[in-house]
């Protein structure tokens, strides 16, 4: 009887002069249920924010973060950074552009950009919940939000200034608009989905994977209507959005570098073995992945609307990144929303089955809810418990893998390795930058082993730094890095005044580490800065390992 909107029911009740109490009870019930839902949403979002903000500024930037922040500072008009960081590196610049707007307000620092990532991360939580609600109702929506909020993998990625987090947000936004389109096909919704997919590309070019997934979806999901007009307009919107990247290169003079970058990407050697992405599973949460498998089976059997899209997206993304030789820990982040949806769907399906199977409906419902809650707590505890140090931990291999500039596998994990390859940043980066700013002349030049520390020195130290290991062959290097053709000549002519050793790069490229130390000995290197960290030995003693060493050299 009273099942429509409150005011409608009330008018009907007043006209008929009965059932007013039931109308009010029904309305109150709906109000309470809605309030409960929004309170639950608010709590989940608060949890998401809290997990992403906790100790966010504990460590300084890692290499990739330093590059992105440096580029953003250059875009924001800071000339000292513009001289050190070319505005074109390897990727489209939407994220850099957004951070540059923030820098125009806050000035250059290493916290504000991470807050931008956090905002995108929390946004992904909200959008994931919206998708689940649209697809399967509020329970699935809420569970999807909870999974994305507490799963270690998206938490870790969204705490760092990486391009993948914002890309995953726009990925999720595209899914949301497609979900809305599936529920009620409207042209404007489809155009918005195309625009979101374009923004995902402008965040990171690997979002192009959305295109084959969506096309496959529309081909396979015959129940989802698509007119030629809407398709054409959507395609136009998508292309117009992503055109910002090539057009900006064309008018700004970066096409040559873009070509070199494309060739370099094609020729990069594998940096991890094929089983590398299994390391992501524990970070997502083994129970979550298991539930997602259940949800996948259900989706495949159901084959409704967006189920097909999620399956297509999952297959395309996993297949591509598995085949692509260069692997990164954060590359699978676009799958978090689909996986969370599947996991939530799977969990709700299990609880519904339990309810149906149980003779005591009321008891079973409570049992189901309790089971769901316990499962999720266990999931988050397992995921968050993995790791070595810091509040939010991560597998050691994953730490290393977030440095996209490194291409070699270390043969062993060296002492001090973890201190220079840390979750949420590097412990050594701020102190070394501060020392450099205070103790060296503004036009000093540094030579490092690899580009990782060079990027950090340039961002935190505001000094030019070059890397020995950058290949002189343009086919084998990131084209925005400057190779050092003759380091000996640079040292002899006093063009470089400092040599920098770091344990992380030394482990990855022992050859160039030896070369750097040979220059230290040849040119009267004097140790002027040493970051040493205590390391517990197997026999119980404590020794100090060098993390970053700076030598002043004299020809």
């Amino acid at each position: 009887m009273a099942s429509g909107p409150f005011w409608t029911d009330l008018k009907a009740a007043l006209r008929r002069r009965y059932g007013l109490r039931k109308v009010l009870e029904s309305a109150a019930g709906r109000l309470i249920r809605r309030a409960t839902f929004f309170v639950a949403v608010g709590i989940v979002l608060l949890i998401a924010v809290a997990l992403r903000l906790l100790n966010l500024d504990r460590f300084g930037f890692n290499s990739d973060e330093a590059v992105y922040a440096g580029q953003a500072a250059a875009l924001a008009g800071h000339q000292d950074y513009a001289q050190l960081f070319g505005v074109f590196r390897a990727h489209p610049l939407l994220v850099h552009f957004i951070v540059s707007l923030v820098y125009r307000i806050t000035g250059v620092n290493d916290v504000a950009p991470r807050l931008v990532s956090v905002a995108f991360g929390v946004g992904m939580v909200a959008v994931g919940g919206a998708i689940g609600t649209v697809m399967r109702g509020r329970r699935v929506g809420l569970l999807t939000m909870l999974i994305i909020a507490v799963s270690a993998y998206p938490v870790m990625v969204s705490r760092q200034l990486l391009l993948d987090g914002p890309m995953a947000f726009f990925f999720a936004l595209t899914l949301l608009f497609l979900a809305l389109y599936v529920r009620q096909p409207r042209g404007l919704t489809l155009y918005a989905a195309a625009c979101s997919a374009g923004l995902a590309f402008l965040a990171k070019e690997s979002a192009i994977l959305m295109v084959p997934a969506v096309l496959a979806f529309f081909l396979l999901a015959r129940d989802v209507p698509l007119s030629l007009r809407d398709f054409a307009i959507s395609a136009f919107v998508y292309l117009a959005t992503i055109a910002a990247f090539p057009v900006s290169l064309l008018v700004g003079g970066g096409t040559r570098v873009a070509q070199e970058f494309f060739v370099w990407q094609l020729l990069r050697r594998p940096n991890h073995d094929p089983t590398f992405y299994l390391s992501v599973v524990p970070s997502v949460g083994i129970p979550v992945v298991a539930l997602a498998m259940v949800g996948l089976v259900i989706a495949l059997r159901r084959r409704q609307g967006l189920d097909v899209l999620i399956v297509c997206l999952t297959v395309v993304v996993v297949a591509f990144f598995e085949l692509w030789p260069v692997k990164g820990f954060q590359y699978l982040i676009p799958l978090v929303t689909p996986v969370a949806l599947l996991a939530a769907d799977g969990l709700v399906s299990i609880t519904d089955s339990l309810i149906r199977a149980s003779k005591h409906a009321r008891f079973s419902r409570r049992l189901a809810i309790a089971s769901a809650g316990l499962a999720l707590v266990a999931t988050s505890a397992v995921a968050l418990g993995i790791g070595s140090s810091g509040v939010i931990g991560t597998p050691a291999a994953a730490i290393v893998a977030t440095d996209s500039d490194q291409t070699g596998d270390p043969s062993t994990t060296p002492a001090g390795y973890a201190f220079t390859a840390g979750t949420g940043g590097l412990e050594a980066s701020r102190p070394v930058g501060e020392w450099i700013r205070k103790n060296t002349l503004s036009d000093s030049e540094f030579l490092t082993i690899g580009p990782s520390l060079a990027n950090i020195i340039q961002f935190y130290g505001k000094r030019r730094a070059l890397a020995l290991s950058v290949s002189p062959n343009p086919l084998h290097r990131n084209p925005t890095y400057q190779p050092v053709l003759n380091a000996d000549l640079m040292l002899r002519t006093n063009a470089v005044q400092y040599l920098v050793y770091d344990s992380y790069s030394a482990a990855r490229t022992p050859f160039f580490a030896r070369r750097l130390m040979a220059f230290v000995h040849k040119y009267n290197g004097i140790l002027v800065y040493a970051d040493l960290q205590p390391v517990q030995q197997a026999n119980g003693t404590t020794s100090y390992v060098p993390i970053v060493l700076i030598y002043e050299v004299h020809p």
């Binding site: 008009g77 070319g86 923004l199 910002a244 008018v251 700004g252 003759n486 640079m490 063009a495 020809p555």
Partner: protein, 532 residues
């Protein structure tokens, strides 16, 4: 008739008299000294084979090397085809000795401290390079007393129609070593006529025209940069009209040993500025690049490529220093300077010698400049910069031409002008110091800073370089030229402005579209609820 005969007789007598005096004069004139026996290097020659073929004993290669050390360089194995070596030296020309008295020990009391300088300058670094004149390095520097327009030197002053050589720009940064002995210097000086630069080199079978070569700012960009940002002295003379040893002795002691370029077996006892500093409790060190502590006046070894350090570090010829471990410990390798700068323990007075990168021909002047830049750069990067004064100078003329006649203040000098730069946070920017000075002015500067007594009449009378400083100005931050990174491929990229425009436009439109889609969806849902 008688008068005619008488006149004729007088005329004949006069003629005979004149002829006789001419004969007598010719008879009394000393015979020219026998010239040296020379040899021109041929392809495949080594010192051993030359000694074997020319002198009959391959073991006499050491003699040949010793006679030609300044030309061959540190490695006796490197000979160039066409090089002219002296196998047997000729008898030296009689030494032209000035009639002026030599510098004497000073009996003056301590000089008054220049309080302005003393309160601002706590570290003095004196870098001594080798063998170039002012005109050779800065002859074309704008505003300086450089090469005059139309300057030239006769090829042979004795022959008026012998032609002249004009100054010309050198194309090579590495040249043959010219003779720069005291005799050659005096011959070039020629009593103030300054016309013997070419002929004296030719007398040594060396290319005389080389002496008129000069470098400019493109060859020596760092030194010219220092000149334009700090102080260049264009009336700074070497102290002695001679070579390295005498001038280095003036540099530390205010006089020379009157032994020419010879180090006697018993050493040379003299009082130096370091004795004054030691007595006053002022810290000092003598830094030597690639220092060999085995070498001193008792342990000379011509085959040791570092043998020259004994001449360039006069302390190593002084028995009271060589035999005193505490004093000798002040002579250290140049590497210690960098450590001292980093540690903040650089002494109050530092003398610095660079050895192989001293720019002494045939050394590469660019290498020397780079090495000097490294030293000055290290000082600038250290905390010592804020209260330092760096004097960069060259020890002697090296055989090169300079047009300014050096005043003769005593028996030994002055010698020809040498380039001198004064670098300090308090040095006047781009200033050319026209005040007459020499190496003893450096001694005077140190003495005025610490209230020390002069060593000799030379430094007592010398100027003190204070005119190069302005202690009223705030201390200047160190400045160094942007060194082109020679070994780097420059990065390229698009302009930021275009990027900002494109991304801003797209982002703005995208946000509008998304908001529009979201709002219309919300309205549609609200309408649907109301229809239900």
């Amino acid at each position: 008739m008688t008068a005619v005969r008488l006149a004729a007789a007088c005329l004949v007598s006069l003629v005979l008299l004149l002829a006789g005096s001419g004969v007598a004069q010719a008879a009394n004139s000393p015979a020219p000294p026998p010239p040296p026996i020379l040899y021109t290097v041929k392809p495949g020659d080594t010192l051993s084979t030359i000694a074997r073929d020319q002198l009959g004993d391959p073991g006499r290669w050491r003699e040949i090397y010793r006679l030609n050390r300044s030309q061959i360089g540190d490695d006796p194995n490197i000979l160039y085809t066409g090089e002219i070596l002296i196998l047997i030296p000729g008898t030296p020309r009689p030494r032209v000795v000035s009639t002026l008295p030599p510098p004497q020990a000073s009996h003056s009391g301590p000089l008054p401290i220049d309080t302005g300088a003393a309160s601002h300058i706590k570290h003095v670094f004196v870098i001594m390079q080798e063998n170039h004149t002012f005109d050779n390095y800065f002859g074309t520097y704008p505003g300086a007393d450089g090469l005059p327009i139309g300057a030239s030197v006769p090829i042979d002053p004795a022959r008026t129609a012998g032609g002249t050589v004009k100054p010309y720009h050198l194309s090579a940064l590495r040249t043959q070593d010219l003779d720069h002995s005291q005799n050659s210097a005096r011959a070039a000086f020629d009593g103030g006529l300054m016309d013997g630069f070419v002929v004296t080199q030719q007398h040594h079978n060396l290319p005389g025209s080389l002496a008129l070569g000069y470098y400019n700012g493109t060859d020596l960009p760092y030194y010219w940069y220092l000149a334009s940002n700090y102080v260049l002295a264009d009336r700074f003379f070497s102290s002695a009209i001679g070579g390295s040893l005498a001038n280095h002795q003036f540099w530390v002691a205010g006089l020379d040993s009157n032994q020419g370029e010879t180090i006697p077996a018993q050493g040379i006892q003299m009082t130096t500025i370091f004795d004054r500093l030691q007595g006053a409790g002022v810290s000092w060190k003598f830094y030597v690049k690639n220092y060999d502590p085995q070498l001193d006046f008792r342990h000379l070894d011509p085959t040791n490529p570092r043998d020259s350090e004994v001449a360039w570090v006069p302390l190593l010829t002084i028995p009271s220093v060589v035999d005193d471990p505490t004093k000798r410990a002040h002579i250290q390798d140049l590497g210690n300077l960098y450590q001292d700068l980093v540690d903040g323990t650089a002494p109050a007075v530092s003398y610095i010698i660079q050895g192989g990168t001293s720019e002494h021909p045939p050394g590469h002047v660019g290498n020397g400049e780079n090495a000097t830049m490294g030293i000055i750069d290290s000082i600038m990067r250290s905390h010592a910069w804020n209260d330092s004064a760096i004097v960069l100078t060259w020890d002697d003329w090296g055989g090169w031409y300079d047009h300014v006649v050096p005043p003769q203040v005593d028996r030994e000098g002055y010698g020809f002008r040498v380039p001198t730069l004064i670098i300090s946070p308090y040095a006047r920017k781009g200033y050319i110091l026209h005040q007459t000075a020499d190496f003893t002015s450096i001694l005077k500067f140190i003495e005025r800073l610490h209230g020390l007594a002069p060593l000799t009449t030379r430094d007592q009378a010398a100027s003190d370089l204070m005119a190069a400083f302005d202690f009223q100005q705030p201390p200047r931050a160190p400045s160094r030229p942007q060194v082109a990174s020679a070994g780097v491929v420059p990065a390229r990229g698009p302009s930021a402005a275009r990027l900002l425009e494109m991304y801003g436009l797209v982002s703005g439109l995208a946000v509008l579209l998304l908001l529009l889609a979201g709002l219309t969806e919300r309205k549609r849902r609200a309408r649907r609820r109301s229809e239900l």
